[in-house]
Every structure is written in structure tokens, then in C-alpha cells.
């Protein structure tokens, strides 16, 4: 037992020999968790298509058009200057630009000279949608004037006006009638929200906290392979042959030390989740401990197996980070698993990160307890048994 502790302590001293290790142990995981929690879409964002609007008129008419666009279910007006809009449009960074030119007021509307310009990227579907939304907004603002203009024309075709004043009076009377008709127009569309179940369980804070915890803990645990490769390269493993320590003692010391450090790291990140991100990690402490421990064991076991295949420390470091990042991405630690095609969702069940993430989300996102995380914990334990067996079986001092 003393030897095991001594080996684990030695590994901790080697690992934290440089203060830079703290960057990877706690600082970067916290930075990533924090930024990703704020940077990933939560589902509460405005889903409408952005429509760049340049309001050069700044009149009540142009404001009414913008207000109507705000009410659209399809587009979201974003005001900017003509120069910025032009530049973004030329760079194809925006798909649609609506220009409301100066002089757009009630006089120009009555005179029939009011005109707006809609610039669209060619063959762009969003632009097709935006055009309809803009036409709807324009109609809401101008249909009473259109109706009054039309009424004047109808009247003129039957009996010409005696004077300009009579024509203007007829226009104003028509405008009043049209406004009254428009005001009393009933709502003709009703939106009913369906009962579709959202299959994507997602909360950016919970997903980010659990996902980054797994990413940053699994990479160093996979790095156990680098420890083996380093000791093998340095010849220190061979020296152990002449000491009264067997293979099991060495492996247990190395692995338990790394698992203990991983648990400390996990608890620090869980603490950050509870205190700063207000996540409910601590509701079921026993379940939390079980999922953290089995996750750490599975990752440590994978690192042990890797260590028996890899020859140099450089290789081990590179592969640990590569496997850590790829497993994290594919295991749903960076993006919700539900975004993957069904076949990939099934394939990635061979990864320990998938089960670790599911288990942690059961706790922190879905409010589950020990019973809920047991299946994931069992699978992770299964990974640990298989990989430790392979690792121990293949382990050589030289």
C-alpha cells in the first residue's frame, strides 16, 4: 500500500512539476466551460432570418415598415448604414438588404413615387422568404393609401372631377374609408402550436459543464500512455525490475494516482458548475460519485491499453489529445448527440465518452438519480474491466 501511494505521489509531483499544468488542470477547463456555455445556442435565440435594413428616410412611414417587419414570423430586421450593408452584401455576408431611401413619407406615398429597394443574393431561398415578408409589411403600411388612390381612379373613370380640390377631397374621404375598413379588418390567420416533443435535451450550461469536464479529464487520463512511454524511454521501468515491486503494484500505483487526480479535477469543475453556473450537480451525491468514478476508471483503462501499444512519449501525447478530442466530439460532449445521424448515434456507443456524457446529463440536466445512471455506470465499468485486462496483459517493462 505504501508503495502504491509512493508511486502515485511521485506521478503527482512529476505532473505538477511545472505550474503550466494548472492551466490544463483547472484554468482552461473553466475558461472553455464558461465560454461555451455562453456561446452555444440555447434554443431561445430569435430563429428568424436576418434582414438587413437601411433606413435613410427616418420618417414615421419608414418606422411603421420596420415595426411591421419586427412582427414578422420569418424575418428579423437588423438596422445598419448603407455603406456597411453594401460592404456586407458585396462580401456575401448578408443575403438580403432592404433600403428605405430618404423621402419616404406620406406625401411621396400619396404621389405614387414611394419606392423601396430589396437587394437579394441570386437564387437565394431566404431572399424569397424575405421578399414576401417585406411585401406584407408594405401592405400593412400603405394599403389604405393604395385603396384611396384606386378609389380616385375608379371615380375618375366614371365621372371626371371638376377640380383638383374636389379630387383631393375625394382622396381624403376615400383614405378615411379605407383606414376604417383596414382598422376593422378581422384577424384571418390563427397560429396553433403543435404538441411536438423536442427530442434534443439541451441546456448550454449543463451540456458545457458536463462536456468540458469529460474532455479535460479524459485527455490526461488517456495520457497515462505517455507516462508509461516516458518511463520506458527513460529506462526507469527497467529499474523497477530490480526492486521488490511487482507489475501489479506499479500499475496500481500509477493508475490510482491518475484516477485520484482526475477525481480532484472533476470535483473542482463540478464545484465551479454549482457555485458559478448554478447547476444542480450536488442533488444526488452518491450517483454523482458513481458516475465520476466509473468515467475516470474507463478513461484510465483506455489510457493503460494505449500505453501498451505506443512506443514514444511524443506519440502518446499526440494520440491522447487526438483521441480525447475526437471521442469528446463524437460522444456528444461538445454538441448534443441528437444532432448526429441515427446510425452515428449507434456507432458512438462504443466510446466511453458517450456513456459518461449520458450519465452526467441524466444527473445535471434530466434530474435523474442513482437508478437512472446505473446503466451508464455499468457500461463504463465494463469498459474499465476490458481495457484494464488488455492493458495489464500486454504490459511490458521494456
Amino acid at each position: 500500500m505504501k508503495k502504491i501511494f509512493a508511486i502515485a505521489w511521485k506521478d503527482a509531483l512529476v505532473r505538477f512539476g511545472s505550474s503550466a499544468e494548472l492551466l490544463f488542470f483547472i484554468i482552461l477547463p473553466i475558461v472553455f466551460t464558461f465560454i461555451l456555455a455562453g456561446g452555444t445556442p440555447s434554443g431561445d435565440e430569435d430563429p428568424r432570418i436576418p434582414l438587413t435594413v437601411v433606413d435613410e428616410a427616418k420618417t414615421s412611414i419608414s418606422q411603421q415598415v420596420i415595426d411591421q417587419l419586427e412582427n414578422s414570423t420569418a424575418v428579423r430586421p437588423e438596422l445598419t448604414t448603407r455603406q456597411a450593408a453594401q460592404s456586407q452584401f458585396d462580401d456575401r455576408r448578408v443575403e438580403i438588404v432592404l433600403i428605405i431611401p430618404s423621402g419616404m413619407d406620406s406625401i411621396s406615398l400619396q404621389g405614387g413615387s414611394a419606392q423601396m429597394e430589396l437587394f437579394q443574393q441570386p437564387n437565394n431561398i431566404n431572399a424569397t422568404v424575405a421578399e414576401r415578408a417585406v411585401l406584407t409589411a408594405i401592405r400593412q403600411v400603405s394599403s389604405s393609401i393604395s385603396a384611396a388612390q384606386n378609389a380616385v381612379k375608379q371615380r375618375e373613370s366614371i365621372q371626371p372631377f371638376a377640380s383638383e380640390a374636389e379630387k383631393q377631397a375625394y382622396f381624403e374621404s376615400s383614405l378615411e374609408t379605407a383606414q376604417s375598413i383596414q382598422k376593422n379588418a378581422p384577424e384571418r390567420v390563427a397560429v396553433v402550436t403543435g404538441n411536438t416533443q423536442d427530442e434534443v435535451d439541451y441546456d448550454p450550461r449543463a451540456n458545457s459543464s458536463a462536456g468540458q469536464l469529460i474532455t479535460w479529464v479524459f485527455i490526461p487520463l488517456f495520457g497515462i500512455s505517455a507516462l508509461f512511454a516516458y518511463e520506458r524511454q527513460q529506462g526507469t521501468l527497467r529499474r523497477l525490475l530490480i526492486t521488490p515491486s511487482n507489475k501489479a503494484t506499479f500499475l496500481l500505483g500509477t493508475i490510482s494516482g491518475q484516477v485520484a487526480m482526475a477525481l480532484v479535477q472533476m470535483l473542482l469543475l463540478v464545484g465551479f458548475g454549482i457555485l458559478v453556473m448554478k447547476l444542480n450537480w450536488g442533488r444526488e451525491p452518491l450517483a454523482l460519485f458513481v458516475i465520476l468514478l466509473t468515467s475516470a476508471l474507463a478513461a484510465a483503462a483506455f489510457g493503460t491499453t494505449m500505453g501498451t501499444f505506443i512506443k514514444s512519449e511524443g506519440q502518446a501525447n499526440g494520440l491522447s489529445i487526438m483521441f480525447g478530442m475526437v471521442f469528446a466530439l463524437m460522444g456528444g460532449c461538445w454538441y448534443p448527440m441528437e444532432l448526429f445521424p441515427a446510425i452515428i448515434q449507434n456507432i458512438v456507443k462504443i466510446l466511453p465518452t458517450t456513456w459518461a456524457m449520458q450519465g452526467m446529463l441524466d444527473l445535471v440536466l434530466r434530474g435523474g438519480g442513482l437508478q437512472d445512471i446505473l446503466p451508464e455506470a455499468e457500461v463504463l465499468l465494463g469498459f474499465a474491466v476490458i481495457f484494464f485486462s488488455v492493458g495489464v496483459w500486454r504490459f511490458r517493462y521494456e
Binding site: V31, L109, S146, R155, T177, V189, T193, D198, V326
Partner: protein, 419 residues
């Protein structure tokens, strides 16, 4: 110059013989790009934004306006946007939405047309036209808010056209009747005439001039963001790894040997930097080429692409040299370089599109070659050419030059390149 070039080529060869380095430089970003392709739906054809929105039309009206609305969704103009199916059962249509089989159902109730256009034989009056409205129901799928919003907007546009036509027609008739130019007996036939094509009314007070000419249509490929995102992320590893070789050569004694040969310090340092630069160019070049060959990403302007890669690697190499100049041991460069790679990765948009990041992150991102590089690659993928890339290229060149200048000052101060 030849010596400088030889040193650079030697370092390039060394790194391309190191399988561990190659795994990290090429295989890791390639695998992560594939993973990103799955996440974003690129490989399952779901990444192209709005298209083929499944919508169920239930037309119980079966008259002029109901048919016209159904025709709108089946029109050639909306062929790419909508994928309408017709049903006669409102309950079945709602069930399809609840089961997430479509984005929305449009249920046009019986009597919709007659609620707007007075049936034949009806005496015209303002009150009977404004009777209790018969409403079109848009049964929306809450898990597809954008698509459902678009469906609603199309229905709104149709209804606004009908409503404008109704307002125009009614205003004319009411005014003519008030002026004594139309008798109540004739009002019904006149109203019917005005309402005949009510759904085709065009607004006259404000004219909307559309402009969509002059450029080729471009569909943005999400992998054109993800692939360079990963390449730039791992480029930071490459440049710091290269910087590590300068200190490693010093500690292994090969650097002093080089310096006692008739080779100047500037040539040795220049050669080492050239080696790092060439390695980075090869790495990003291979990954970008792989994105074209394996995933069919179209990069457009080749000259722009090459210059952008050179500028991005130049900017990143500047960071690599600064890290090298600040470090005392190769191990320090390794850990600082890895940290910088990850920090720049998240700040620069390699993991998540910067547009989704908070404003302070977008501001901070300007110090990373990742953000400027991705800006350029996105412009290229959107059909931009070299002139459109001037801003990111200039920023990357300035970044590289400034960082090189600082690194050289630090090298001189710390005596790293002394015999």
C-alpha cells in the same frame, strides 16, 4: 539564401518523418472535421439551411381563395423552399406535426372564400363582408420554429394581399355609393368584379424594386468553415512545435555547431523560421486540399486561397516565434503552445462560429490568426476573390510582422541565438 533554404527544408523533412507529429498535425484535424460534418448535418444533407420545408395543406374551402393559397405553396417560385403534401383530414395533418413529420399544417376552413368575397345574390353592405371571420389555421411545429415561421409568413403575405384587395374594392364601392355614382342594386355585381382577382392585388402606394442580378448564386458549405477551423487550430500546434525545435537544437548542442560553421545567426534563425513556415503551409495546404478531394468543398479563387494560406501561416508563425522567444525550455514551449492552440481555437471560432459568441469574445478574437483566417476562408467559400480578402490578409501579415519583430528583440535580449 541557399543555406537558409536548406535549413528550412531540413526541418520540414524532419517533421514529416515524425509519425506522432503527423498524426497530430493532419489526422486529428481531419477526423475532427469529419465529426463536425456529422454534427452540422453536412454528410446527411441537412446543412443547407432552409429548403424543402415539409408542409401539409388541408383545403376544406375548395373555392377561389382556398385554391389560390394551395397553389401558392405548390408554385414554381416556392418549389425549392416548400415541399407541400395535400391532406383532407385536419386531425391527420395535426398528427403529422405532433409526430415531427412536417414543419406546419395549413388548414383552410370551409367558407374561407365566402367570408371575404360575398356569395352571389348577397346584397352588398360593409357589415356582411365583415362578418365573423373564418380563420386559416397554421398548426406549427414548435421544434422547427424557423420553418414554421416561414410557412406562417407565406400565409400572411397571401392574406395581406387578399386583405389589401378587399380594402381597395370596398373603399371604391363605398365611395362611389356615397357619391351617388353606384346604386345599391349594382353594388353587388361591381363588388364581384373588383373581388374577382382579389388575391392578385399589387400594392401601388409603395413600389418594391427587387435587385438580384449581377452575381452567381452561391450555397455556403458549412465544411468550408469547419475544415479550415480545424486546420488553423492545429496549425498553432505546428508553429509552437517548430519553435520548440530551436530550443531543442540548442539543448542538444546542434545549434552551437551550426553557429560555428560559416553560417550567420540570421541565416540559422531565418532557416528555422522558414522550416516552421513551410511546415505550416504544407499542413494547412494538405488539409484544405483534403477538404476539396474528400468532401467536395469548393474554394473558388485559387490565387486568393494560396495567398490566404500563406498569410494565415505567417500570422501563426509569428505567434510560434513569440512563444519560443518567451520560453526557457522546450517543455515550456510545448505546454504554452498547446494552451495557446486551445485558447486561440475557442476565441478564434474553430470550435463554434464566432457569430454565436458573446461580443467580448468576438472582440478578443481579433488577436488570433484563427479568426482572421476563418474570415478569409468564409469569404472564399462564399464566392469572394482576392480583392475581397484584403482585410484578413493585411491583418494576418501585420500580426505576423509585429510578432516577429517582438520575437527577434526577445531573442537578442535573451541571447538564444548566441554561440
Amino acid at each position: 539564401m541557399l543555406k537558409l533554404f536548406l535549413i528550412g527544408i531540413k526541418d520540414l523533412k524532419l517533421i514529416f518523418r515524425d509519425r506522432a507529429a503527423l498524426t497530430f498535425m493532419l489526422l486529428a484535424p481531419f477526423l475532427l472535421t469529419i465529426g463536425m460534418g456529422f454534427v452540422t448535418g453536412r454528410f446527411s444533407g441537412n446543412s443547407n439551411g432552409l429548403s424543402d420545408i415539409p408542409v401539409v395543406i388541408v383545403n376544406l374551402d375548395r373555392e377561389q381563395l382556398g385554391n389560390a393559397l394551395a397553389d401558392v405553396f405548390a408554385s414554381e417560385e416556392l418549389a425549392d423552399l416548400m415541399e407541400p403534401t395535400v391532406s383532407s383530414d385536419p386531425a391527420a395533418a395535426r398528427r403529422l406535426i405532433d409526430e415531427d413529420k412536417a414543419a406546419a399544417a395549413i388548414i383552410i376552413p370551409a367558407g374561407f372564400t365566402s367570408s371575404i368575397i360575398p356569395p352571389e345574390g348577397t346584397t352588398f353592405s360593409q357589415s356582411n363582408v365583415q362578418a365573423e371571420p373564418v380563420k386559416i389555421e397554421v398548426y406549427a411545429n414548435p421544434t422547427r420554429p424557423t420553418s414554421a415561421g416561414v410557412v406562417k409568413a407565406i400565409v400572411d403575405e397571401f392574406v395581406s394581399r387578399v386583405e389589401e384587395g378587399r380594402t381597395i374594392g370596398m373603399t371604391s364601392i363605398v365611395q362611389l355609393m356615397q357619391a351617388g355614382l353606384l346604386s345599391p342594386q349594382n353594388a353587388e355585381s361591381e363588388a364581384r368584379k373588383l373581388f374577382e382577382n382579389v388575391q392578385q392585388t399589387e400594392s401601388t402606394a409603395i413600389i418594391l424594386k427587387t435587385n438580384n442580378e449581377g452575381a452567381q448564386a452561391v450555397q455556403f458549405d458549412i465544411l468550408a468553415y469547419m475544415a479550415p477551423g480545424m486546420a488553423l487550430l492545429f496549425l498553432m500546434y505546428t508553429v509552437s512545435h517548430g519553435g520548440r525545435s530551436i530550443l531543442a537544437e540548442r539543448s542538444q548542442g546542434t545549434l552551437p555547431r551550426l553557429l560555428v560553421s560559416p553560417t550567420s545567426t540570421a541565416q540559422v534563425l531565418g532557416g528555422k523560421v522558414l522550416g516552421i513556415f513551410l511546415t505550416g503551409v504544407a499542413q494547412v495546404g494538405i488539409l484544405i486540399l483534403a477538404s476539396s478531394v474528400f468532401f467536395g468543398v469548393k474554394w473558388g479563387d485559387t490565387l486568393g486561397l494560396v495567398i490566404l494560406i500563406l498569410a494565415a501561416v505567417f500570422g501563426a508563425t509569428g505567434w510560434g516565434m513569440l512563444v519560443t522567444a518567451l520560453a526557457r525550455t522546450p517543455a515550456q514551449i510545448g505546454s504554452t503552445g498547446s494552451a495557446l492552440m486551445l485558447i486561440f481555437g475557442i476565441l478564434g471560432g474553430s470550435f463554434i462560429n464566432l457569430d454565436q459568441m458573446p461580443a467580448y469574445v468576438r472582440t478578443l478574437s481579433k488577436i488570433t490568426p484563427n479568426a482572421w483566417g476563418l474570415d478569409g476562408f468564409t469569404t472564399l467559400a462564399l464566392g469572394g476573390t482576392l480583392p475581397n480578402l484584403m482585410q484578413p490578409i493585411t491583418a494576418l501579415l501585420i500580426m505576423g510582422a509585429v510578432l516577429f519583430g517582438i520575437a527577434i528583440l526577445l531573442f537578442n535580449r535573451n541571447g538564444i541565438m548566441q554561440k
